[in-house]
Amino acid sequence: MNREKSKKEQCQVSEAPPQKAVPKKNKERQQPGRGETVREVKLCCTTCPSECVMTVLTKGDMVLHVEGNTCKRGRKFAEMELIAPQRTLTSTILVESGGKMQLLPVKTAAPIPKRMLVPAMAQIRETQLTGALTMGDVVIPNICDSGVDLVACRSLKEENDAR
């Protein structure tokens, strides 16, 4: 608990960039580029509830420098977010279980590219399942050829099962 707290504090302090970092940023801006300019982007890391606000320097597809993150996941998030943003998709699927229609909550087992969210929803809407399920069961393998499975987020028993 204490460790998390201190992380959070560091994160939020860093919204105002520390003085030391300024010359470093300038140096990077002065690097000779090949037509590509160095851009400064503000990003909020959504990996964990700390919500670190990061300042990211990029050139084309390259992340040159990340600051404001309080753990190494921040840099990874910044790189993914700027080049190929990914999201975990959650939705529901109709299941006929024990003669009753129910909604089963589902999620992609890992984040998928953001552009696939809408096509994945279409595939989910076309799908209907029957029978009992256990949390973690794959309900649509390799959704939209993303390489990621859609999995059940809860177990559903047949209606006439003993509780």
Binding site: M1, E9, V13, C48, P49, P105, C153
Partner: protein, 428 residues
Amino acid sequence: MKKLNYDVVVIGGGPAGMAAALKAKETGATVAIIERNDELGGILNQCIHSGFGLGYFKAELTGPEYAERFINRVNDADIDVYLNTMVTALGPDCQLTAVNEDGVQAFSAGAIVLAMGCRERTRGAIKIPGSRPAGVLTAGLAQRYVNIENRKPGQRIAILGSGDIGLIMARRLTLEGMAVLGVYELMPYANGLTRNIKNCLDDFDIPLHLSTTVTRIIGHPHLEAVEVARVDENLAVIEDSREIIPCDTLLLSVGLIPENELSRQGGISLDPRTNGPLVDELLSTDQSGIFACGNVLHVHDLVDNVTREAEAAGAAAAAYALAPKADGAGSAVRLPETKAVIHLVAGENVSYTVPAILHQPLERDVKLSFRVKRPLAKAQVVVAVGGQTLYRSKQQSFKPSVMEDLTLRHDQLDSLTGPLRVMIEEVR
């Protein structure tokens, strides 16, 4: 009438109730959970989005997954679960009356944990003028329609309030093919977590209109439009900014109220700042043997914090219930009123603290939860008694949407006599 005896009875089978029950069981008590729904899990069952459990399980889970992990633990733990059972009265000396299909049940407990959660503020609570058509509903109700009951609330949706459930529903309804026209927020800042603004609104180009509110509801018998208007720094409507937004659904995400009808009826004192019970460092209410945790105590933004708080309440309830047994003949009934009390005062920029009182001597360090009144870019938490500063945090930013906490060492607190003031000092 059946008479059921337990060391600890937990009211509510959501995340708080399950965690409290498990901890009480682990401490050695006999435990029952009373839940009015037909399954455990509470509101988590309809929160199908992910982001739960990052703190507690170190894994990103959806609501149903977080719930099922706890439901499995409860099922394995020899805890008696009464589903479809509603507590109707909280009597003196930890006596409870409940009803279910089998009739009226009387429970006699050594200690009780209140874990009834909260409910949403409705249109009535914020008094929006206009007609009273169908199509105006709380965000959580829309969440239940879409995620559990397979119903569609409407086609063109406006959302009032930037609370987390409203933001989550903006994304969910968009993905399900509905048009979310915008989120309107009275305050000049968003109420939800930044991650939700980013992942639920920005990702789908849903506009967030700050300092804007719904001023009129139009249409009958079904909603046809809402009138929105910007407000100035005093939250007064700017007349020439009024605009009509045609829509068939208005979702309200305007705050949550701890559900304390039962607590009130049981004679428990409430804190007007949290609308939850007034508790001490053990999360004990002012009625002997009754403890509270989770959203019935104060509204949380992360379930992981609910779980941790509930574990503390469950352990304290079990210790209270088991103490007379251990000492034999019930001679050692704890009398907290004989202990010295220190009050915690919410000072500058702090809206409340939980706990609100401390009983000396303290056996362990005290975790304080609190919220700030307004966003502060750079500030420090200060805890002081008279002129003496007991605690000063590092500089950080604060938002009302984020529940903060800090831990005070018990050896610092035991010699104190005056009230403890918790405040946020802005660093300029």
